[in-house]
């Protein structure tokens, strides 16, 4: 049986790890390569670097971080943020990433998903989504770090990206992100039921039981968290031990 994955995410700006709360009030906390090594020791099943620099110089620094990490950490690496073109995808994979995560760029140019999947394979292309509940009860997709509502229905979007060849979805709930009240179970359920590709839960983990809750209440494949692991409130090992205790299959 496939194990449910626990994925720490490192938000990186200018080569340094930071973590925002609700995308604001960014705090800086350290060297991304050392953080990735520590997460690897804790048993992380995958490590995500999210580049929030977006500037051209910043991208080069990010690729150096990926290169260094790939020499020392031997679990899958995903890199997101600022990937706009097929060349960006190629460059990132060549630096040692196993997957790229595209978000705003995919909304503005869905063909990037199709091209990326055709050239590099679906397994390399993760689509990150920031979504928020509307007053009418559905969810819409936001871009630019949760700032712009694209008025695009979340469930229409996930079906479209699956058809375009995305290999995975990383679903971040703007409503629960940074709030630490648990993952957005209703949104997760709706997306998992709408597609047949793996869905990573993101945004909202605040305590140990939130991870097991996501796996018990939805068929998501993985759960991602950033600040919780950064600020050492929990280790990946503790999360896995809790899942194991609740008979959820995780990698030992």
């Amino acid at each position: 049986m496939l194990a449910k994955r626990i994925i720490p995410c490192l938000d990186v700006r200018d080569g340094k790890v930071v973590k925002g709360v609700n995308f604001q009030g960014i705090r800086e906390v350290g060297d991304p390569v050392a953080c990735a090594e520590e997460y690897n020791r804790q048993g992380a099943d995958e490590i995500v670097f999210y580049d929030i620099t977006a500037s051209h110089e910043g991208r080069g620094v990010m690729l150096d971080v990926v290169r260094e990490t790939a020499k020392r950490v031997f679990v899958p690496l995903t890199v997101g943020g600022g990937i706009k073109t097929v060349d960006d995808i190629r460059e990132t994979l060549r630096a040692g990433a196993d997957k790229v995560s595209v978000n705003s760029q995919a909304v503005q140019n869905p063909d990037l998903i199709r091209q990326g999947a055709d050239i590099f394979g679906s397994q390399c292309i993760c689509v990150g989504i920031d979504a928020k509940k509307t007053d009418s009860g559905n969810w819409t997709v936001f871009i630019n770090g949760g700032r712009i509502d694209m008025q695009l229905d979340l469930l229409d979007w996930v079906k479209q990206i699956e058809q375009l060849g995305a290999g995975e979805i990383c679903l971040n709930s703007i409503d629960t992100d940074g709030v630490k009240g648990g993952f957005d179970i209703s949104m997760l359920k709706a997306v998992v039921n709408a597609v047949n590709i793996p869905v990573i839960a993101s945004g909202g983990a605040g305590k140990l039981s939130h991870f097991a809750d996501a796996f018990q209440e939805t068929d998501c494949s993985a759960a991602l968290a950033a600040s919780l692991f950064h600020f050492k409130e929990l280790t990946v090992g503790e999360v896995k031990a809790d899942c194991q205790k609740k008979k959820i299959i995780v990698r030992s």
Partner: protein
């Protein structure tokens, strides 16, 4: 010296990074004369079977791989493992290296997400030197949509469960080994498998 076959497919740098990290001498190569001099060979691969076989043929690597596999350890990884078999039905019928009798076909499950991607636990079927000293975790990392079937069940060293029995490690019990998973992405367990390969 471990030769990492560089025929233009896949992320071969992660294999190189893992061998470097383990302090195992290695070199990317595509020259048959150099490959003959190596102690061991790793055949990586990501992508589609027919395209990869075509690239091996264009670089004139098929004869040297077949010949060297009779004399020194050869490890195929992922698509490189599938290419060790007789033939594949990915897109079209295509001949493989035929070092282990068997075929490659779609993973025969309807109710599961394809590709089979993530960490799955090895179930050991037949003893194999690559599986020694693995410690307490048998989880390794997979990303694939097609899978191997060996004609001879003795060639199956380990499999995993994904709604069907998915061959994970195959061997002729002489020099040829094939890992459907990525040992270079499988944490400490994968690194130990690579160490074991270097010590054969």
């Amino acid at each position: 010296m471990i030769a990492i076959i560089d025929y233009g497919a896949g992320n071969i740098f992660s294999v190189k990074n893992a061998l470097d990290y383990l302090g195992l001498q290695n070199q990317l190569m595509d020259d048959p004369a150099l490959i003959e001099k190596a102690d061991r060979i790793i055949l990586p691969g990501v992508g589609a079977f027919p395209a990869a076989m075509k690239m091996l043929a264009q670089k004139n690597l098929i004869p040297v791989l077949k010949e060297q596999a009779q004399k020194k350890p050869l490890l195929g990884i992922c698509l490189g493992m599938q290419m060790l078999l007789t033939k594949s039905y990915e897109f079209e019928e295509c001949a493989g290296l035929d070092l282990i009798p068997g075929t490659v076909d779609k993973i025969p499950v309807q109710d599961r997400i394809i590709p089979h991607m993530g960490w799955n636990a090895l179930e050991i079927q037949n003893s194999c030197k690559l599986l020694e000293n693995l410690g307490n975790s048998l989880y390794v990392y997979f990303v694939h949509s097609y899978m191997a079937t060996c004609e001879n069940p003795e060639h199956l060293a380990a499999c995993v469960d994904y709604g069907c029995q998915v061959p994970a490690l195959i061997t002729d019990h002489k020099f040829v080994f094939g890992a459907q998973f990525h040992p270079e992405k499988s944490g400490e367990t994968g690194l130990q498998i690579l160490r074991n390969f270097a010590e054969l």
